[in-house]
């Protein structure tokens, strides 16, 4: 009896041999057998694979049956593994990074100015000054400077980067958003990179 559970995501080097032990967890009551099973090669990474390969559970089951057809295989969990080929990390130049930083900085500065003009915030602030104090003031900086600081504070607060030490385990909305995006991408590649999962009429 062999229990196998594929991992969700595995990273490998280019030209690596992917063995069953890399993509799956296994439970077998025979220690020698499990070592042999783990060493079965199921895929050789080629340059044409680019960076994503999907290993289907069927392929793993077939490889195990080829090794010993008398084994009883039980699969649990995900039915495919996403194998990510990690090429040498792209050299991320600090110039490139600085450009993106500047783009975001200037972009958001301009966006907030456009927003203020769009909603006539200057007039609103002048009105508010009059409502509170009863006096007129064309430049209510007493209100506007704390407002500007609060603007940055609010953004940081929303993403929870002010309190680096989190009190609880709850992820920040950014982390949840990144996770959802990754899940959507995974779903997409599972269906589109795995030739067995979609069969079209005109393919035959």
């Amino acid at each position: 009896m062999v229990f196998i559970r594929l991992r969700n995501r595995v990273q490998v080097h280019p030209n690596a041999d992917v063995c069953i032990g890399d993509v799956a967890q296994m439970i077998v009551n025979d220690a020698e057998l499990i070592e042999n099973l783990k060493k079965i090669m199921i895929y050789k990474i080629k340059a044409s694979d680019k960076n994503i390969v999907i290993i289907d559970v069927m392929k793993v089951v077939k490889a195990i049956l080829d090794f010993d057809s008398s084994l009883d295989i039980q699969t649990i969990g995900p039915t495919q593994t996403i194998v990510e080929v990690v090429y040498k990390k792209r050299n991320f130049t600090s110039l490139y990074f600085a450009l993106v930083w500047l783009l975001l900085f200037i972009g958001s500065a301009l966006a907030i100015m456009n927003f203020h003009e769009d909603v006539s915030m200057q007039q609103v602030h002048q009105r508010l000054y009059t409502i509170i104090t009863g006096e007129k003031n064309d430049k209510p900086l007493l209100f506007q400077i704390p407002y500007s600081i609060g603007l940055g504070l609010g953004m940081i607060l929303f993403f929870n980067h002010l309190f680096r030490k989190r009190i609880n385990e709850e992820p920040s909305p950014l982390e949840v958003e990144m996770f959802n995006y990754q899940q959507a991408i995974d779903q997409y590649v599972i269906l589109h990179e795995n030739k067995e999962s979609i069969r079209r009429v005109h393919d035959d």
Partner: protein, 140 residues
């Protein structure tokens, strides 16, 4: 005459209803209040927060339509400014969330550790842009 008055009341009420429900829908979609309750762990007081939003909208509407003047200390404006800034900042942050900017940016550029620094770029950009607008831009 009576018809006119009733008509005006009807129109005013209808306009208020439309704007009020739009305002609530906006706040709900951006999810600022759930985020605040999550940060402060005060899920139980959510109804009090609803009341705060409604009361705030009512007060704001009333004082701005009635040309009220309260003759209070001008230093009261400092905390008010800070709070309104935080509120708008959270709205802006929530808006970028809805637009799914961050995950795509992080994937495209391939930097997931440095995303905090880019987040800071946006936050500082907002602070700088806002200060520049109030201190310099409005005079020119």
């Amino acid at each position: 005459m009576t018809i006119d008055v009733i008509l005006i009341i009807m129109i005013g009420l209808a306009g208020g209803l439309a704007v009020g429900s739009g305002f609530v829908a906006f706040i709900v979609v951006l999810g600022v209040i759930p985020r605040l309750t999550q940060l402060t762990k005060t899920m139980k007081s959510i109804h009090a927060y609803e009341l705060a939003v409604v009361a705030g909208a009512l007060t704001g509407g009333w004082v701005s339509l009635r040309n009220t003047a309260l003759y209070l200390s001008k230093y009261l404006l400092i905390p008010m400014g800070l709070f309104s800034g935080v509120f708008i900042g959270m709205l802006a942050a929530a808006l970028t969330e809805v637009l799914n900017v961050w995950p795509i940016l992080a994937k495209r550029i391939g930097i997931e550790e440095k995303i905090v620094i880019l987040l800071m770029a946006i936050a500082f950009g907002k602070v700088f842009g806002s200060l520049f607008h109030w201190v310099y831009f409005v005079d020119h």
